[in-house]
Symmetry: C2
Subunit: 485 residues, 2 copies
Amino acid sequence: MSNSFTSAVFETETMDVPGGTETILRGGRHLFPLLPEAFGGVRRIGVIGWGPQARAQSRNLRDSLAGTGIRVSVGLRPGSASAADARAHGFTEQDGTLGDWLDVVAESDLVILLIADAALAAHHEEIFAALRPGATIGLSHGFLLGHLRATGGTFPDGHGVIAVCPKGMGDSVRRLYEQGAEVNGAGINSSFAVHADPDGRAVDRALAWSVALGSPYTFQTSLEREYMSDIVGERAILLGAVHGLVEALYGHYRLEGDDPVTAYERSCENITGPIARTISADGLRAVRERLDPDGRDTFDRAYHAAYGPARDLVAEIYDEVADGTELRSVILAERRLASRPMSGIGGSPMWAAGDAVRARRGERTLPVDPFTAGMFVATMMAQVDEFAERGHPWSEIVNESVIEAVDSLLPYMHARDVAYMVDNCSRTARLGARRWGPRFQAAYEQLAFPAKPAGQEVNGFTDHPVHEALAAAARLRPSVDIHVA
Amino acid sequence: MSNSFTSAVFETETMDVPGGTETILRGGRHLFPLLPEAFGGVRRIGVIGWGPQARAQSRNLRDSLAGTGIRVSVGLRPGSASAADARAHGFTEQDGTLGDWLDVVAESDLVILLIADAALAAHHEEIFAALRPGATIGLSHGFLLGHLRATGGTFPDGHGVIAVCPKGMGDSVRRLYEQGAEVNGAGINSSFAVHADPDGRAVDRALAWSVALGSPYTFQTSLEREYMSDIVGERAILLGAVHGLVEALYGHYRLEGDDPVTAYERSCENITGPIARTISADGLRAVRERLDPDGRDTFDRAYHAAYGPARDLVAEIYDEVADGTELRSVILAERRLASRPMSGIGGSPMWAAGDAVRARRGERTLPVDPFTAGMFVATMMAQVDEFAERGHPWSEIVNESVIEAVDSLLPYMHARDVAYMVDNCSRTARLGARRWGPRFQAAYEQLAFPAKPAGQEVNGFTDHPVHEALAAAARLRPSVDIHVA
């Protein structure tokens, strides 16, 4: 794919990335007046579902489109337990912005499908059948494409199929959008993809949707690449790997003699706190550069020890997702859920120390732990390199491997904890974290911790092209407060 | 399936199992004179490969058939590094008992395919093409059936397809056979399956093969059920679960304050030593009964805490193997091996204590640790119950879940260690243990250890039908020395 596109409505920009350029659209509230033209005849937008993404996107869209005459409605399954919360957020039957999902589908020009993956797998045919002629199908990740391929299905002819995929959880999509009222352009970056474009308006409709969500910048991908990076990323550095890593590190520090609070602070708290904040504010390289010489040596040893095992696992995950094996396992797991509910992941000893750690936060500034930092950054770089080798655009690589982690998920984990975080993601993500988190834990315990590589300047890390791509992405968004209360 | 069969040559017996009976054949050296008749025209047996099973089976067959005129030859790939070892064990080009694999295939009436799964997947078509008319294909597990189904292939018409599947590793198949010279009937139990039977002689040929291997008793299954129980079992209690359990228990005891040697003795050493020996000699119930009241209470709590998480995982593994997902992942992993060699699993801290533990063995009799025992027996019972629910015959259930563990694999792990054991199994098993061991470890750490169920007589355990099935199986074999030097 070319990673270049043109818009009839918005002024795009060219972003320098390693080895070339990518066309992107910078967002901001000053673009809201262009939305009606860009949406190209869309008068009614139906958001189907009320999960975290639907809750955020429906409100952002409504707020951004206020006064334009484009109405945003929410469609729910009959008897949905979410109706009361949707009403509490101003979507009501009385004014026609809350209704039965198939009714909302039938009356909308753009139908944004944000129901759970399992519901999408079970009900997409009914939904397709209810579409009005020429209506555009909107997705926020590629799951449905993967499912259709696995089951031999197709999208219906005559309908545009577009995706706008915020690189952050729903809570962040809303929270950072609200900051946009004071800091123009604050928000969560999004990718967009055009999968079918019967009337030639798909690119602008997708860009309009993304601008209305508050995306600081929007980059192009394909539904296929979005699917791969999304499903792999949540199994690796976004959720699965970080869970496996903090479990392994906690046990490692405890066996080294640390008390529970110290071990928690050196592992989980360190990653969700100072390491995430450093990367968010100043990039990956800053984590290493700000250590003293001994710390840098420890970082380098840890980085060398963790990179290989982590890369092997990311490659394995990528193969399984690309092959369809991972999606088959999700479908099998969904079938078991009726008789075997999903188990918790928050029972291991480390989480009992969380409250005490959070209570100590005001007392001092926690320094970056060099060993933890080396392990974590190596795992992040393993995903970056695997995505690069598989041909993903750089915007997708840095957003799905670095920015989504440090600006959305890790701050949320810092406020709650990892177990809470995992269980507030999609079921596909929760199942994936349960499958792969333990694999990462075992890889750190069996391979990375026992490795004794010579300390040395980390080959390839300080000069890695990712730093250029990350800096370019950082220049496209204003500084925001990622703190989660 | 009926679990009953008839033989034109051997006298079968009826074994009482929960809910009914199964037809079985009791083995022993007194049956060797019947082998030529039972083999029904087979004059040349070709064993293809020189892995652990081939090494054991080719020697057992040759020794059992000495003086009958039925010749056992070994076929190896051109340039095979195993040729020297085969010669050292008396298979030579000079006397025509060692040759190129396709030549040996072409001259044999029964071709026993014991090459690695990946080689079987890659080369089965060449091998099928080289078969002489009417030759019988012999397998020792169901992998090839799973592979053919996954790839749309079939067994060639006009050839019998039989399986004889020893319920133990190759080393045990040979070692216990050698004990049979003094203790008639010593050996490793085997299942048999008839998948295609064009001349009506398949049952007796399979029984002859099994008797010649030294199987104390032989029971019937289907290639499909054999495949399921074999692949699931090695991912669960035979390898994957036991590895995950000892890793989890070691860390648990260390964090409770045990020194490394004590933690190793309470975890790994306990399972491979006193727990395995107790089950082998006196059955599952004896493990609990011999504890004092406090120990029984601890056992019951551990059993209750571990059973549910372990059962969930065995069910998940069963689903993935039945669906073909697991085999797809093995194929994907095989493709990665060229660029990403399989990593070790023996690097975690516990294995460093192994030598010190083994050096202490003479000093005292290690008692059964009730917590470890409850966790281990619960995991074993989870597999027993899952196999029963999925309709496996009881002989298969107890052999694949209990007897193979305590009489073959755990004694081997006791002599070496778990990592060495895993890496002396098939690559399919090694890959499976790497995939699922960490899942079990996480389940114990996150779910079983933190659970605080009330201590109580274990529901269903003491009255479970497995004890009857296990006792019936025990009566069919002489007492053997399972010690591995």
